[in-house]
Subunit: 227 residues, 8 copies
C-alpha cells in the first residue's frame, strides 16, 4: 500500500487518490452497503493520505463505530453525512437550497452539507412549496442572489418548475421519495421535473442530495472564480 | 324499435333513453372507433326520440358524412365535438377552463364545449402555464369567480397545483398527452396532478376533456341551481 | 413570531395563517414524516393562533405524545386523523362515503372525518362492492340524496364506475392499496377509475381519503349554500 | 413432405398434424406477420391433409389472395378470421359472448367465430357495459343459460366483474385495447380483470379473442358431453 | 339482524347470504386486512346461518384466536386457508394442481384446498417445472385425466404453456411472486402466461390460488355433474 | 395589443415580453403542435417587439411557410431549429457538445444551436461513444477546456458517466430515443444517466437538446462573465 | 483522412480501424438512422481500407442506393443485413439458431448471417416453439451438437428455457417483439428469458439478432479453435 | 425412494439425478424459500447419491442447521453459497469476475464460487467501476487473459459496456440491485446492459450471480477443452 500511487488497493475497494487532481474535488464514499470494518479502513486510509473525505447515507451506528478510532470525524444525522476534514476549503460564492416541504429536509441537508464541504456558502429556504405559493414569492429575490439554486421536492415536485420560471441562475432539481400512492417513491416528482416547461433546469436521481450539492458547488465555484 | 323503452337496441349498440331521467343529462357518444354508418344510425335514433346528443373525438370526415343526412348537426374541429341539439338547455353559473399552453387547447375546447352543451356558462383562460407565472396571477381573481375550475396541462402539469393552491372552488385537473420523452404520453402530467400537495383537486383521464366538462357542469349546475 | 403575518416561520416549516381567507378552509398537516417535536410545535402554533387544524396519517404514538400537552386534541385510530377544533363549524348538506370492502374502511374514514371536520354531514355506506351488487342497489336511492358521493375501493375498483352510472351527483373516486399481486399497490384501482366509461367521476391519489373528503366538502358546502 | 408424419416441415414452418389427436382440436394460424405466400402454403398443406384450419388476425388483402387458389376459404372482416372447413363439426352446448361497448365487437367476433368453428353454439350480447347497467340486468338471465361466458371490455373493464358477481358459469374475461390515455392500450382493463373481487373469472391476453373462444369452446364441449 | 335477508349487515361488512343461490357456492372471506374481532363476527354469523365459509390468506394468529370460540374451524398453514364446514359437499370429478417448484406450493395448496372445499377431487403434481422437463413428461398422462388443470409457477412461468401444449382440458395458470430481480414480484410469470402461444389457457391474479381453485371447481363440477 | 405590457395576448397564446428582464434570455417557442398560422403570428409579434426568438422542433414545412413572410428567419434542418435574430448576442466562453453516435446528432445540434443563439461558443465532438473508447480519450483534454459539457447519448447512455468521471466541469446529460427493444424510447439512457456513479452530472428530458443548450449557456455565461 | 490512424474521422462519424486488432472482429454499422449518403461514405471508407464490414437493420432502399457505387455489397432482405466482404473468413465450429415461430425468422436470420459473416458454421431450426413441443424434441440431439445455441422467441418466450433445460452448450436467448397486447413489444419474452429457472442461459436486447450472432460466433470460435 | 431413477421424489420436490448426464453439471438448489427441514432432506439425498450439490441464496441460519447433520457442508457468507462436494472437479481455464463497486461484491462472489465449484479457475477484479476509469485500464490486459469475463455492476451499470468495448472474450453482464431512487432495484443497470452499444455481451437476471457463474464455467470449460 503505497502513498504515491494513483489509487490505493484494499481487498474490497480501490481508493482514488487522484480525484482532486483529475476532477478538482476529493472522493466521496457511499456508506449504505458497507460494513463498519470496511468504512474504518477507507476513512483511515484517506486520513493517512491527508485527504478530506465525505461519507453519504451513513447511519448513526456507523458514526458511533468510526468516532472511536477517528475522533475528528463529524456527523450530521439530519443529512446522514460523515465528514473528515484534514484541510479546510474556503467557502465562496452562494448556493440556495430550497424544499417544498418539511419531509424533504433530509435530502436538502445532504445537498447543503455536501456543497459546504466542498467549498460553497449555502443559504437554506425550507417549506416553500406550491400549496402556499406566497411563501415562495416572499423569498424569490433572496434565492435569486445565489449562483446556483437547488430545488428539493417530493409529491408532485412542482417547486422546481416554479422557481426556474422566475430564476436567472440554473436550477438543479432533486426529486424526493416523500409521498405515497401514485408518487411511486419519487417517480412522480422525477417525471415532473424532467418535463418542466421552464428551461434552465436539470435533474438528479431521486433523493440524491449528494450529487445535487456536488454539482451546485462545482458550478458555483467556477462562477465565483476559484476554478 | 320502440320509443317508450328504457333503451333502444341497434344490432351493434344499445342506446340509453333514460339517461336524462336517471343521471340528469342525455347520453354522449364516443365516435373514435365507430363507422360512419354506425354514427348515423345512433344520431338518427336520438333525433327521432327528440333527445339531445353529444359526440366526442369525432373527425371532420365523420361530420361531413353526418351533415348530409342531419343538416342541423354542429361540429367544432378544435374540440372534435359533434352536437345535435333538439331543445336548448339554459346556461347558468360559471365554469373556468384554463390551459398551461397552446397545445392543450383541443382538450380544453372539448371540456368547454361539453360544459356549454349540458348547460353551463364557460370562461376560457388559455396559455397561462407556470413558465410565465405572472400571466396566471393576472387572471386568478377572475378564475376564482367560477363555481368550478378546469385546469388542462401537459408536460409537467404543475398548473393544476398552482391554481388549486390559490382557489376557493374545486379544481378538476385534466392531464394532456402534449410533450415528449419522459412525459410518456401524459403519464407525467397525470402523476403530478394526482400527487398535488394542494387539496381541493381531482383528476380525470389523460386528454379526457369530455369527462372534465361533464363533471364541472354537473357540479356547477348543482351550485348555481341552489343560489 | 407574530400573529398577524400571512404565515409563521418555524425553523422547519412555514405555517399558512391565511389559508382560510384565501381558500375557505384552514390548513391540514401531513403527519407521516414529522417528528413528535415538530408536530407539537405546529399544533401549538395553530392553537395559539386560534385556528382549527387537522392532522392526517397520524399514528397512535404521535397522538399519545401530543395529548399530554394539548389535551383537547382528538384522534380517530381508524382514520388516522388528529383534530384540534377551536371553533366548531356547522355541518350542512350531505356527503355519502361508500366502500367496496371492509379493508377500504380506513381510507373511507379519513375521507369522512375530513369532510365532517370542515363542515359536512356525512353518511357511510360500507362493503357494498360489486361482488354482491344487490347490496349496492339496495342503497343507491339513499346514496343519491347526497350532494357529493365518495367511492372508495381497492382491487379492481369497479365500485366507482357502477355508482357513477346510476348517480346524479358527482362521484369522487378514491383507489386504495388494498389487494395483492397485479393490484400493484393501488395502481389497478387507479387505472380503472381513470378509465371509467361512466362520466361524472373524478379521481384522487391512491389512499388519499383526505383530499377526497376535502374536495367533497368544498363542493357540498357550495351546493348547500354557505359558500 | 410426407402425409403420415406428426408434423409437416415447410422451410419456414412446421405444421402440427397431430394437434387434433393430442389436444382435441386442429391447429390455428396467426396470420399477422406472415406473407401471402407463406399463408397459401400453410392453408394448402392443411387442405391436402384434409384438416380444418382457422386463421386469426388476417386482413382483407390476405383473404383476397388466398381465395383465388382456395375458393372454399371463408373470411369474416369484422373478426379478422379465415376459416377453411373440410369437415363440419356439430355445434353443441352454448357460449355467451358479451361486450362492454361497440368498439369491443371485433375482438368479440374473433372469440365468437372461433368458438363456433371448433363446435359451440354462440349467443352474442353486445354493448351492455356498466355505464348503463340496466341493459346488462335485462340480459343476465339469458347469459346465465350458457355453459361459459366470455366478457369482452376495454377502458375500465368492469363488465367482467359485474357479470361474474351474478353468474353461475365460469367467466373468461378479455381486455381490449379500446380506450385512450391511462388505458395504456388495454393495460387498465387487464389489471381490472385480474384483480376482480368476484371469483370464478379468468383472463386472457389483451385483444386475444381467439384464445377466449378456444378456451370457452373447450370447456363448453366438455360440459355438453362430447369430450 | 335477521336470518331470511339476502345479506346480513354488520357495521363493517355486509355478509352475502344468497351467494349459494345466486352463484352456486357460498361466500369466501379475505382475511388479510381484517381484525380478529371482525373475523370472529363474520365466521360466527355464517355459522349461525348454517352456511359453510372459507377464509383465505389467514395467518396462524387469526386461527388461534378463532378456534377458541369456534372449535370446529380448521386451518391449513401451508395454504393459509380457514374452513368452517357445516354441511359436507360431495367431492366429484377431478382437478389437477401442478407447480413449477417447491416455492410455489403455498399458492398451489390455496388452490387445491379451495377446490376440495367447494366439492372437487384434487390430485397434486408438485415440482415438475421446465428445468427438468422429463419430470413433467412422466406425469402428463395422469394430469390429462383431470377435467381442469391448474398450473402454478413463478420465475419465468413457462410451466403453464408447456402443459397447455400437451393437454386436452383447460389450463388455469397462476403466476406466483416467487423469484427475484426482473421477476418483479410475479409480473414476469404473469406476462408469460398471458402471452402463451398455446391456446386453451387462462390466467388469474398473481398468487391468487383461491380464484384458480374456485374456477377449476366451478368448471369441473359442471363437467362431472353434466349440468 | 400593446407594446409596453409584460406579455402580449393572442387568442391562443400569451407571449412573454419580460422574459429577458426576468430570466436573462428571451422566450423560445415549441413548434411541434402549433399551426403555421399560429407560428406566424407569434414570430411576427416578437419581430414587431424587436425581440429575438428561437423555435424548437420545427419542421421544414413550417420554415417554408414562415420565410415567405419573415425572410430573415433562419432554419437548421439537422437541429429542427428556427431562429429570428434582431440583435446579435456576443458569443463568450465555451460549451462542449458530445455524442455517443451518429444517430444522436439531431439532438446534439438542437443543443449546440440553442447555446450559440443565446451567446455561447460551442465545440462539437460527435461519435465518441464507449464502444470505441479510445476515440473519447483522444478528445478528453479538449473537452475539458469547456466551462460546461453536454453529453448526448441513446441506447445505454454510458457516455455521460465516462465523461463525468474524467471532467472538471459540470456535465449536462441528454438521453436520446435512439435505440430499439429495451431502450424503451430513451428510458434506458435516461435511467443510466440518473444513476451515474460519477458525480457532477445532471440530466434533462429525453431528446431535450433545447433545455440542455439553454442550461449550458446559462452556466457558461455566468462563468465567462466573471472571469 | 489518413489510413494508418486508429480511426478515421468523417464529419458525422469516427470509424474504428483497430476493431479487429483490439476485439478480434471488424466493426458493424447500425444502418437504421443513417442517411444513404452517410452509409455510402462509411462503406466506401471501409472498402478503401480493405476492411470487411457488416451493416444491420438496413432496408432495401439503402441497399439499392449502395450497390450502384459498391457493386460487391450483398444484402439479405430477410435478415436486413448488408455485407461487404473483402477477405473471406473461414467458417469453423457450429452455432445452432432456433426460433419459436415463423414470425421470429427475421431476427434469427440477422443472428445467423452475423455468425456466418464473422466465421461460424450455422444450422437453422425454425418454428419449433412450445405449442407443439414434439417438434423440438425431434431436433434436440442435433441442436446439442452445436458449440453455442441461439434461441429466438417472442410472445411468452419459453423456448429458451426449454432448450436450456436439455442442453449442454450455452444458450443465448433473443426475445423478439412478435406478439400483441401484454407482450408489450417483447417485454414479456425478455422477462421470461431473464427469469429462466434453467441455468446456462444469457439474454440480449429485444430483436437484437446481431449481438446474439456476434456473441455466439465469438464463443464458438474460441471453442472450435482450441479443439 | 430408489437410487437408480432419473429423479428422486420427495413429497415437496423431485431431485434431478441425471442433470450431470444430461447437462454436464449437477443440480443447484435455490435455498431462499425453503425450510430447514426441506433443505436437509435435499442435501442428504444428494449426499446419499454421491452427487455434488450447490445451494444458492442460503442464509447463515440455514447453514448452521445443516452443518449439524452434514458436517462436510461448506458455506460462504459473502456469496450466500452452500457447497457439498463429494468428488472434486479439477479447475481449468480462467474466468474473470469484475465489479463496479464494493456493494456488488456479494453477487460477484456468488458468481465466482459457482464457477469454481463447477470447475473453473477464477480471478477477481473488484471496485473498478467507471467513476475512476484508470483503475479499470490498469487491469484490462489481465482481464483479457480470461476465456470469459463476468461484469457485475449496479447503479448505471456502465462497467459491462466499457469492458466489452475492449475485450476479445465474451462478457456476461450481471446487473445488481445496488443503488436507490431511479435505479428501481436493478432495472436501470439491467436496461443499460441490454442496450450496450458494444457487442459481445449478454445479460442475466438482476443479482443472478449463480447463472452468470454457471454460464461462464460452461463456456470456459468448453474452450479449455475438457468438455
Amino acid at each position: 500500500m503505497e502513498n504515491n500511487k494513483k489509487y490505493i488497493e484494499l481487498d474490497f475497494a480501490k481508493l482514488d487518490m487522484e480525484r482532486t487532481k483529475r476532477r478538482g474535488y476529493s472522493e466521496a464514499v457511499f456508506c449504505e452497503c458497507k460494513t463498519n470494518e470496511q468504512l474504518l479502513k477507507i476513512f483511515q486510509t484517506f486520513k493517512d493520505n491527508k485527504t478530506n473525505v465525505l461519507g453519504t447515507r451513513a447511519n448513526i451506528e456507523q458514526y458511533n463505530y468510526l468516532k472511536e478510532k477517528l475522533p475528528d470525524i463529524k456527523y450530521s444525522e439530519k443529512g446522514r453525512i460523515l465528514t473528515l476534514t484534514l484541510q479546510e476549503t474556503e467557502k465562496i460564492g452562494e448556493v440556495a437550497v430550497c424544499t417544498g416541504g418539511t419531509g424533504d429536509i433530509p435530502v436538502a441537508e445532504e445537498a447543503a452539507l455536501t456543497a459546504e464541504f466542498f467549498g460553497s456558502n449555502v443559504k437554506r429556504y425550507y417549506d416553500i412549496g406550491v400549496s402556499g405559493i406566497h411563501r415562495l414569492f416572499d423569498k424569490i429575490d433572496d434565492i435569486n442572489k445565489a449562483n446556483v439554486i437547488i430545488a428539493v421536492a417530493g409529491m408532485e415536485g412542482a417547486l422546481a418548475s416554479i422557481i426556474a420560471g422566475m430564476a436567472t441562475s440554473h436550477v438543479i432539481a432533486v426529486p424526493t421519495s416523500i409521498g405515497y400512492g401514485a408518487s411511486f417513491k419519487g417517480l412522480s416528482a422525477l417525471l415532473t421535473m424532467l418535463n418542466s416547461c421552464a428551461e434552465g433546469i436539470s435533474v438528479v436521481n431521486i433523493d440524491n442530495g449528494f450529487n445535487a450539492g456536488y454539482s451546485a458547488n462545482q458550478i458555483n465555484r467556477q462562477i465565483a472564480g476559484k476554478k
